[in-house]
């Protein structure tokens, strides 16, 4: 074999902010992608050594094992309160929560609304996969009408079980929220857009413009009973109609950031 003297350039590698270990996430789950995006953004901003993460209860309960940054682990739903405590005493640190839909939009609705309305200088990474993943796929506040879960075995009946919560829309009504958007992780284009949104959200915090949240539509192939590819398609076909992607709140100051 002839070795060619070709200059090489690294174009892709694991972010240093991600610990090189195998995660406990299922094949085809998009938690790995969102972890990586958060790590890349913090690294690109030079904030890895200035950040404290707050993990929540759900599949991402062990998120702190996968990031090379300081982390605390909150009680179910309370991550925004815990993050508030940290940010208020260490105002120059970057503080973010990483929460699922059961954690944030059900048991933690009081805490997230409180944090957003106070305009806490936090960034919330909100994973919406339309079910409780860790406990085995029960109905979540985000479960779609008609969606079968282990606790809505005949499909979510909105007359009996109510309607899904559109979190980004809901939080966008609060004046303390400076940046609230919904993105998706179901294809490459949307992954790139999600990363941009996460960058903006962390910049909003860095520039002290208010509360920021990025809702990420995510897959849960195991609990949805689908292959990873089918799960990706299900996001596109089913979730996008109930949860349209878009910028629900971009305060004038955020718009002026011009990232």
């Amino acid at each position: 074999m002839v070795m060619m003297d070709v200059p090489t350039r690294v174009v892709y590698s694991r972010p240093e902010a991600l610990d090189p270990r195998v995660t406990h996430y299922c094949p085809g789950c998009t938690h790995g992608i969102s972890h990586r995006l958060v790590a890349e953004v913090l690294e690109e901003m030079g904030e890895v050594e200035n950040t404290i993460g707050v993990a929540s209860v759900g599949c991402s309960v062990f998120a702190y094992n996968y990031f090379n940054i300081d982390f605390v682990e909150a009680a179910h739903g309370r991550a925004p309160a815990m993050a508030t405590g940290i940010k208020r005493v260490l105002p120059d640190r970057m503080v973010f929560t990483y929460q699922g839909d059961g954690d944030l939009a059900s048991i933690g609705m009081g805490e997230i609304v409180g944090a957003a309305s106070r305009g806490e200088l936090l960034t919330v990474v909100f994973i919406n996969n339309a079910n409780y993943g860790m406990t085995g796929g029960q109905m979540a506040p985000t479960t779609l009408p008609g969606q079968v879960t282990t606790s809505s075995p005949t499909g979510r009946d909105v007359k009996r079980q109510g309607y899904p919560i559109q979190t980004a829309e809901l939080l966008s009504t609060l004046d303390g929220a400076a940046y609230v958007v919904r993105r998706s992780l179901h294809n490459t284009r949307e992954v790139r857009r999600a990363k941009k949104a996460l960058r903006t959200a962390f910049e909003v915090q860095k520039h002290r413009l208010g509360f920021s949240l990025v809702e990420l539509l995510s897959t849960c192939p195991t609990n949805w009973g689908m292959s990873p590819v089918e799960a990706r398609d299900w996001v596109e076909e089913r979730m996008l109609t109930y949860y349209p992607l878009g910028d629900y709140k971009v305060s004038p100051a955020v718009a002026e950031l011009n990232l």
Partner: protein
């Protein structure tokens, strides 16, 4: 510094910030609210965080987060609010971070009322939250003592990476008394090694209460329990009155102990040889002195503003070797010294028994008074 006339809630708030409270998170609830109100003005003046949370759940979890940074932090509430905080307290205990909270106890159960009571004893002293853990619980009987114990609370929290509760009966929170607040002290300078900070020193720190591996959780519980043994050995505090020659002993904490002291003094004037043991730390409980007293006295009268919650801790030490009687008022009713004096006079006059349960005898006696 000179003494000033000051309300208990305000005094504790001012004392806390003077001994280095760096952040306060709370939620309004009577009869605690003046504490929150005082800090809402004073903390911003000093450039320190004050957050009125969305709920007691929010408040205790803000404390949890801020405590993870190693700063001196606290919250305060009253009984129904403290019930909501139990989740957070268990997590804080399970993460071994120091925190102080004040429970200004009111009448319950349920929404109850806003009058002074001691009905939170079981919830605070014997757990409340899930899992194996203990709180250090301080029970002052005057505004001055509440001030003094506030400083101690932060020191003990830091020393043992523990939660310390100042259990302030509603009466003490609301009462004005002459008292002296300590001068302003500098904030704690050093960051404990375990505290999260953003891994600026390249040393990643994770603070969590999760231990999925049962043996790991068991080791952690073992550590908590052996630390509690250390606390039991070193941190018991109580006050004794007229115990040297006492034939009978009243045991009471906080406001009930203070009222009982008036009754004990009146009884002494009548020539009754009675003393008072007033636990200041109700957790750790003053078992040792109670054991010594059990050997030498003829009987005990436990006085509380509840249905006999500390009574069970007294009975655990006395173990039927001497008669124990009980007198309490509940639900926000505060006993008069005369009522306690009557109980003392009854104690020394009637034949006592170690059979049966003192609560049953008390309930029977109270049938006409309360029922």
């Amino acid at each position: 510094m000179a003494k000033e006339l000051i309300k208990g809630n305000t005094a504790v708030a001012e004392a806390a910030l003077r001994v280095g409270l760096e952040a306060y998170f709370g939620y309004p609830i009577t009869p605690q609210t003046e504490l929150l109100e005082h800090l809402s003005a004073r903390m911003p003046e000093l450039g320190r965080p004050f957050v009125q949370a969305e709920s007691e759940l929010g408040a205790i979890n803000m404390v949890y987060g801020a405590a993870c940074t190693g700063k001196r932090v606290m919250t305060s509430s009253s009984s129904p609010g403290v019930s909501l905080m139990m989740e957070g307290l268990s997590y804080i205990a399970g993460t071994e971070v120091p925190a102080v909270f004040v429970d200004v106890v009111r009448g319950g159960p349920g929404l109850g009322n806003i009058a002074p009571a001691q009905g939170d004893y079981n919830q605070i002293v014997h757990g409340g939250g899930h899992g194996d853990y203990h709180l250090i619980v301080l029970a002052p009987a005057s505004v001055q003592e509440a001030i003094d114990l506030t400083g101690l609370a932060f020191d003990l929290a830091d020393k043992y990476r523990s939660i310390v509760c100042i259990m302030l009966d509603g009466s003490l929170g609301q009462m004005m008394e002459p008292a002296e607040i300590p001068p302003m002290q500098p904030l704690k300078a050093e960051i404990p090694d375990w505290a999260v900070r953003g891994n600026s020193d390249g040393d990643r720190r994770i603070l969590t209460s999760i231990n999925l591996d049962p043996p790991a959780q068991e080791r952690m519980n073992y550590r908590l329990m052996t630390r509690w043994q250390e606390i039991e050995a070193n941190e018991v505090r109580f006050k004794s009155y007229y115990l040297d020659d006492a034939d009978f002993v009243v045991v009471g904490f906080g406001t009930a102990g203070r009222i009982a002291l008036s009754a004990v003094r009146a009884a002494r004037e009548k020539g009754i040889k009675i003393g008072l043991l007033r636990p200041i730390t109700v957790a750790p409980f003053p078992n040792e002195v109670l054991e010594e007293l059990t050997e030498k006295v003829k009987g005990f009268l436990v006085v509380e503003m509840n249905a006999g919650q500390m009574l069970e801790d007294v009975r655990l030490v006395v173990r039927g070797r001497k008669p124990v009687e009980f007198f309490g008022r509940m639900g926000g009713v505060v006993p008069f010294p005369d009522e306690v004096l009557t109980e003392i006079e009854r104690l020394v006059a009637v034949p006592l028994t170690t059979n049966g349960h003192p609560r049953d005898r008390w309930l029977a006696r109270m049938a006409d008074v309360i029922g």
